[in-house]
């Protein structure tokens, strides 16, 4: 970024508005102290940070700026009469109880298992209207990049930084470079936000965004719903960027209107007029720009063991040549180079995760599933992102469509995306998953993950193999 230019990118604007103490010029090159507006926490990456505060005898500076819930290690079955869930893993239960105790001790509102707002942290925070354009947002979770969809600078942090934010409401940061990712044009029918981001990562590679903050621009992004934008920004981290941004617009404002924590009345008007200033100036310069044409993007599928190893559903798995990483990935995935990815047999389907568990995702999956039944021996799970999504999906009859089609309808949580809670693959099983990571063993030791969009996952559940949904109605 060029600090001397008056034209600024969206990233520079948000950064500049949060500088508490500028970068030092002395030989130690002290980093910028950056103010953090919103802190999201969950049970897995917070207990050591709370303990750190206790050890230092420090107060938690702003409990009212924190949104807390439990999502990673909780079960998604076994609902009890009081609304809680029956744990079968005492260690997970102890971790969840530790969060309750910590929130109580430090005065944090916790959306626990009995709350109407419990769910995956990156699903509930937007639903609550807790993420506003121009905010800085952090969470001890790499998919915090989701919230860039609102034009908020949002990124994942480690537990030491969680403690730092607890104590100071700030982070020590050095500015990132900026990369514009422009998606021009109109998506073909059956192609979704998930396919866009998988195509982007396939193009730049999993380390391609290291050191950058992405800004997604172009008509395909401007015409996208907030759900779709969250899916795109969510996987910025899979391209190596800690954060991805989309400038807020009328679609953003319409989403935020009347949410529980959105500004109201005169405050709303004031907020919107400020939010409208949050866009990259016409003459601002990005450090790098890449362009994709929406029309050229197909439904995408990963074939390997990182999210950059992806092709269109009509394509072949690439040749290994002398690439030992690819050869090892294909060996693990039990796939052959130079063969079509379509028709690969699937054992399990997972529709859920902070990437794809919102209403739009469930509606499009249910539309495909309606009137069909999952293939023989198929295990298919639908895990809504939040209690609110669950309630809405039940009201719209989507849950019944899934159940009638042979899907399991679960309680909200991270579930088989991270496989900490018992929802996991058996060794060797192939899963068409709407989640974000296909690393070896991510969904269960020895499990093989194929990342896809919600309609592609639903179609795979019904067919029993990977299939091109663009031809679904012709089947």
């Amino acid at each position: 970024m060029n600090p001397h230019s008056s034209a600024k990118t969206l990233y520079q604007k948000i950064w500049d508005q949060h500088v508490v103490h500028p970068k030092g010029e002395n030989p130690e090159g002290l980093p910028t102290i950056l103010y953090i507006d919103r802190h999201l926490i969950h049970e897995v990456t917070s207990p050591q940070a709370f303990q750190g505060l206790r050890d230092r005898q420090l107060p938690l500076r702003h409990p009212e700026k924190i949104i807390a819930t439990m999502d990673h290690s909780i079960p998604t079955i076994g609902k009890q009469p009081d609304g809680s869930l029956k744990f079968t893993d005492p260690q997970a239960e102890a971790q969840v109880n530790a969060l309750s105790k910590n929130c109580q001790e430090f005065g944090i509102t916790l959306h626990d298992l009995t709350s109407d707002y419990q769910g995956i942290i990156h699903v509930i925070a937007p639903e609550l209207g807790a993420i506003h354009p121009g905010m800085t947002v952090v969470c001890g979770d790499s998919h915090t990049s989701t919230h860039g969809a609102f034009g908020a600078l949002a990124h994942g942090i480690g537990t030491s930084e969680v403690e730092h934010v607890f104590a100071t409401q700030c982070l020590l940061q050095n500015p990132s470079k900026s990369m514009e990712i422009r998606i021009d044009g109109k998506l073909a029918s059956g192609v979704t936000a998930k396919d866009i981001i998988l195509a982007v990562i396939a193009k730049i590679g999993v380390g391609g965004g290291t050191g950058y903050v992405f800004e997604y621009t172009g008509s395909a992004i401007q015409n996208m719903s907030m759900e779709g934008r969250m899916t795109v920004c969510n996987m910025s981290i899979e391209g190596g960027a800690r954060a991805g941004l989309i400038a807020p617009d009328d679609i953003t404002f319409a989403y935020l209107k009347d949410k529980p924590f959105s500004p109201k009345g005169a405050e709303w008007d004031k907020a919107v007029s400020f939010w409208k200033t949050l866009k990259t100036d016409p003459n601002a310069v990005y450090d790098k720009t890449i362009v994709l044409k929406a029309e050229e993007i197909e439904p995408m599928v990963t074939y390997g063991t990182n999210p950059g190893m992806a092709v269109g559903i009509s394509q072949c798995i690439p040749p290994t040549n002398s690439d030992s990483e690819l050869a090892e990935a294909l060996n693990y995935m039990q796939l052959s180079p130079d063969t079509p990815i379509a028709n690969t047999p699937i054992d399990v389907v997972f529709i859920g995760s902070c990437t794809n568990s919102r209403m739009e995702d469930l509606r499009i999956a249910a539309k495909l599933a309606k009137g069909h039944h999952v293939a023989e021996n198929m295990r298919a799970l639908v895990v809504p992102g939040s209690q609110e999504v669950k309630k809405q999906a039940e009201a719209e009859g989507l849950s019944q469509i899934f159940i009638d089609a042979g899907f399991e309808w679960r309680e909200p949580g991270c579930s088989m995306c991270i496989a900490m809670n018992g929802d996991q693959l058996e060794p060797g099983q192939a899963c068409a998953s709407t989640s974000n990571r296909n690393f070896k063993g991510r969904q269960g030791q020895g499990g093989r993950t194929f990342l896809v969009s919600p309609p592609m996952a639903a179609a795979a559940a019904i067919k029993g193999y990977l299939t091109d949904i663009r031809y679904w109605n012709q089947n």
């Binding site: 507006d37 001890g140 790499s142 930084e161 730092h164 100071t168 990182n306």
Partner: protein
């Protein structure tokens, strides 16, 4: 408080792969604890052990030829999840530095806060180090943080590090104390930004 990071000499463990993700370093099912310790036995768990729980002889940590406090790896080390359990597990096992051609941003940050030095060298330098260590597993190299040098029998390699992080490591300081030293500025920021739309308090709603 962390200990000051001292110059040290060690053998290297060569993990000659790119994109080592944090799910490999410490699988998610081992993240259910509430402390930072005790993770060494699950470092690289699913690669280190066979299905019956016995060590996998094909994995480098189980290769008796190799040992040491330096892990050598390829591009984009530590990609994926933000779990700080990854550097906790690596340091608990005994690693003090990772040499790689590049690091994922969040992992690098987390490592620096845990006295684990991420040393990024040029790809050809890392390649040469792999070759040297694989040819001679007893090879020792020295990492000198103050001078930002890796000393090998073949020569001296320079590396970059954020100057503030370097001082924190050399002095054994962490950054919460530093930031709290600017508390008056934080308070001033909160005064002037109190009523702007980005600072709405949840409790005020």
């Amino acid at each position: 408080m962390p200990q000051p990071f001292m110059t040290f000499t060690s053998r290297c463990v060569p993990l000659n792969e790119e994109n080592i993700d944090t799910d490999q370093i410490i699988p998610a099912r081992f993240l259910k604890g509430t402390s930072r310790t005790g993770l060494r036995k699950n470092l690289f768990n699913d690669r280190r052990y066979q299905d019956d729980g016995t060590p996998n002889p094909a994995f480098v940590l189980n290769n008796p030829k190799y040992a040491g406090q330096i892990l050598l790896s390829g591009d984009n080390f530590g990609c994926g999840s933000s779990r700080e359990h990854a550097p906790w597990a690596l340091t608990d096992y005994g690693f003090r530095a990772i040499i790689a051609s590049s690091f994922a941003d969040i992992f690098k940050n987390n490592a620096l806060k845990n006295n684990l030095l991420p040393v990024a060298l040029k790809p050809n330098e890392v390649k040469a180090l792999f070759k040297a260590v694989e040819a001679n597993p007893a090879l020792e190299i020295t990492i000198d943080l103050a001078d930002q040098q890796v000393l090998t029998p073949q020569g001296t390699l320079m590396f970059d590090i954020d100057p503030f992080r370097k001082q924190c490591l050399l002095k054994g300081k962490d950054d919460i104390g530093y930031t709290l030293g600017h508390l008056n500025e934080i308070e001033a920021y909160e005064q002037t930004h109190q009523s702007t739309p980005v600072s709405l308090s949840l409790k005020s709603q």
